[in-house]
């Protein structure tokens, strides 16, 4: 069990560019979550899927952020027209029942 795998681990983008973050959940886990981690806000919930269906995207900034889960083995978080305030660590997590397992995250830096 390799755990939740996130790629890339680090990404630097220029202001206004698009960033796509990838997540491979633990095999057999039915729920996939995306969180954003910053020093100021801590761990903020963004969105989650259950059995590939979007369930709750209440934490997603509506205009530039989108998430997809085209199959049970991966999910993507896309940020269009990145801004400096998008700089953060983006964490993906998966679960089967109650316990949620996190990946190590993708550190996004917008310059």
């Amino acid at each position: 069990n390799a755990g939740v795998i996130q790629t890339p681990r680090h990404k630097v983008t220029g202001k206004g560019q698009e960033a796509t973050l990838w997540c491979e959940p633990i095999s057999g886990h039915s729920a996939v979550f995306w969180y954003r981690q910053t020093i100021v806000q801590g761990l903020e919930f963004l969105t989650y899927f259950r059995n590939q269906a979007p369930i709750d995207d209440s934490g997603m900034p509506k205009e530039r952020f989108s998430a997809q889960m085209p199959n049970q083995s991966h999910s993507t978080l896309k940020i269009q027209s990145t801004q400096p305030q998008d700089s953060a660590v983006y964490l993906c997590a998966s679960s089967f029942t109650q316990e949620v397992f996190f990946g190590k995250g993708t550190r996004l830096t917008v310059v």
């Binding site: 761990l43 903020e44 989650y48």
Partner: protein
């Protein structure tokens, strides 16, 4: 809305002394599960403790916590801090005792620094 409050951003303690990290919450959920997550530098957050039973002490790796619904608290304690305990600690709640939704609401986190 639902929220978790961790009052200290940084707690510094001397090795061998007791430590307590505070966690309180507000929720409209009828049933809740609570977690403490620990995150070491450059690592993923991982579950340290979990509980959904009121007034029952739960323990793991020398840490313990008791969910008190009467005071809306789930404080984390350890009787003797170790250097290896230095990390970022998050308190979180999830709807439902079985927590099938899995959606976690986190506090802002408390950095624990254990010094020699």
């Amino acid at each position: 809305g639902d929220s978790v409050t961790q009052t200290e951003g940084l707690v510094t303690v001397t090795e061998g002394l007791p430590v307590k990290l505070n966690c309180t919450y507000q929720t409209t959920y009828l049933t809740i599960a609570f977690f403490w997550y620990v995150q070491y530098l450059n690592e993923a957050p991982q579950v340290l403790l979990k509980s959904s039973t009121d007034n029952k002490r739960t323990e793991h790796q020398g840490f313990h916590a008791t969910l008190h619904k009467s005071s809306s608290s789930f404080h984390l304690q350890k009787s003797s801090a170790q250097l290896s305990d230095s990390a970022l600690y998050y308190c979180a709640l999830s709807e439902g005792e079985t927590g099938n939704t899995g959606k976690l609401i986190f506090g802002l986190g408390t950095t624990l620094q254990v010094q020699p």
